[in-house]
């Protein structure tokens, strides 16, 4: 293949599809390369689709996108070994004409999105692994090499949307290897149940769905969370912790997942389900400080490859689509102005990221990853303490309430000390701000 493209997009996940679609729609000659058998076959997500990010790219996506359920209820649970404590937010307002969040099945949504990319005019090639970027003598990226015969392809700009590992960016020296404390390893199973069973168990009807995000002793003191998402006829059940913590504890991810599934508050929700897939994936959780330089002479980085994940809010695919779109818009504008894809010109991409929620949100929580990494008491001591306090509070056993209050307070003080409690509160508030 000797023809030259305006842009080559590597990867057909949310960022790659957003980038390829936006550029193709604007009339650019776009090639997209995906290593999987079909778009989505290598990709793993919880998965929740945030409508806003996709709406900005395909406004009428609801007409034919494979959506599972729209989310009307969000549950946050804190688990100790026997209990859960939770806050739930459920509102009929989420039963709106254009719902805000949906559960999705990732392989299906990627396939759907890819079809739109093709319809927009991009050339999409699957089953092809990109092995290296090609640079000219001055170091400008001029194309890439694939594992196909005569696999060199050239373009004005290469948009790297190749996911969390982004070996291409690493090999090209654009990004360092991932730090173990900056990525979480998540494992997930797909549990199938009849639709009406899910409806009953989760107190929903029709297309309504529930999301449960879970923290606590279920991660064995490691920094991490678990989740259950309701799809139409399946539940996505997963748990993830920092890779550095897996190294430190020697825990195995599958034992962790089994323990979670067998928790007395979780097991009844999964009872009788048929498991049809077991997946694993790294999630970039280093936040703002872990974001590498995302553009240079002839190249750009979007999505997970650029560490664009808001771990606290469980937002990643929306950031992927938004960064993909903004990168594409940068290329389209430069092309229209007849300007070359140089480092200086592509810097517009970073500026538009700064103005978007992507960098604003990640900046807000810039200290949170380090804070959690260093303060694992929030995943061990506190769930136990809160559960003990709640048990003391609710158990009616002839002990007067004042004595009970004293017991509750003493429990916290004994575990953390007054200074520790105060310090935790201040540190948490600071990291949050």
């Amino acid at each position: 293949m000797t023809e030259k493209f305006d842009a080559i997009v590597v990867g057909a996940g949310p960022s790659g599809n957003a980038a390829a679609y936006t550029m193709a729609k604007a009339g650019l000659k776009v090639l997209q390369i995906e290593r999987g058998e079909y778009p989505g076959s290598k990709n793993v997500q919880g998965a929740i689709l945030y409508a806003d990010a996709l709406e900005k790219i395909i406004p009428d996506f609801r007409e034919d996108a494979p959506l599972e359920r729209h989310i009307i209820e969000q549950r946050l649970w804190m688990l100790d070994d026997q209990s859960y404590m939770g806050t739930h937010y459920r509102s009929d307002k989420f039963n709106e004409e254009r719902p805000n969040r949906y559960t999705i099945i990732r392989a299906q949504i990627d396939k759907w999105f890819s079809k739109k990319v093709k319809e927009a005019g991009a050339l999409v090639i699957c089953e092809t692994t990109v092995t290296d970027l090609l640079k000219d003598a001055a170091g400008k990226v001029i194309g890439l090499r694939t594992d196909r015969e005569n696999g060199d392809i050239f373009a004005d700009v290469v948009v790297l949307c190749d996911g969390v590992n982004s070996l291409l960016a690493q090999r090209a020296g654009f990004r360092a290897e991932l730090k173990p404390e900056h990525v979480a390893l998540a494992v997930k199973e797909m549990h199938f149940l009849p639709r009406d069973v899910i409806d009953e168990r989760f107190n929903v009807k029709g297309e309504e769905g529930v999301v449960i995000e879970i923290a606590g002793t279920v991660t064995s003191g490691m920094v991490g969370t678990a989740f259950i998402y309701t799809n139409g006829e399946s539940l996505a059940v997963g748990i993830g912790c920092l890779v550095s913590d897996f190294k430190k504890t020697g825990e195995t991810p599958y034992a962790l997942l089994e323990r979670f599934k067998n928790h007395p508050s979780i097991a009844p929700l999964l009872k009788g389900s048929e498991v049809k897939e077991y997946a694993a994936h790294l999630i970039p959780e280093g936040g703002y400080k872990a974001i590498p330089k995302v553009y240079g002479d002839g190249w750009m980085i979007c999505g997970d490859a650029g560490q664009f994940v808001n771990a606290l809010h469980r937002e990643g695919s929306n950031m992927a689509m938004t960064t993909g779109r903004l990168a594409a818009e940068t290329v389209v504008a430069l092309k229209a102005a007849g300007k070359p894809m140089t480092d200086a010109n592509l810097a517009t991409y970073r500026r538009s990221l700064e103005e978007s929620f992507v960098i604003k949100d990640l900046k807000k929580y810039k200290d949170l990853p380090e804070f959690l990494h260093k303060n694992t008491q929030f995943f061990s001591d506190y769930p136990n303490l809160l559960s003990k306090a709640a048990e003391t509070w609710f158990r009616v056993d002839g002990i007067d309430k004042k004595t009970k209050e004293g017991q509750m307070v003493r429990g916290f003080v004994k575990a953390r000390g007054w200074r520790g409690l105060l310090g935790d509160a201040v540190k948490l508030a600071r990291a949050w701000r």
């Binding site: 290593r35 989505g40 089953e127 173990p180 390893l185 890779v243 020697g250 049809k276 994936h281």
Partner: protein, 96 residues
């Protein structure tokens, strides 16, 4: 509570197209594994591709989920040569 888990049972649910005879991951220097104290790859790999054996580490990558954990976790020793399988090969997620 101890739970017995067979990872093979989990992996059995998945779809793979194995690139016979062309593993996409390799342990660079087996001797290095002998002196590795935690052998974190043997516990952290979600597909249990690595096993501690005779003081060293053995590996088979047919069940690999291509997550990258082993490469990241072995960073200090940098003893794992990790790349994606050839196009079309490896794990093929039905749902993801």
């Amino acid at each position: 509570m101890t739970v017995q888990i067979k990872v093979e049972d989990k992996l059995y649910q998945n779809r793979y197209r194995v690139d016979e005879g062309r593993p996409h991951i390799a342990i660079k220097d087996a001797a290095k594994c002998q002196s590795c104290t935690d052998k974190a790859c043997t516990t952290a790999c979600p597909a249990a591709c690595y096993a501690a054996e005779d003081g060293g580490v053995t590996a088979t990558f047919d069940g690999c989920l291509e997550c990258g954990t082993c490469r990241v976790i072995c960073q200090e020793n940098s003893n794992i040569d990790w790349f994606y399988p050839r196009g079309g090969y490896g794990i093929l997620y039905k749902f993801g």
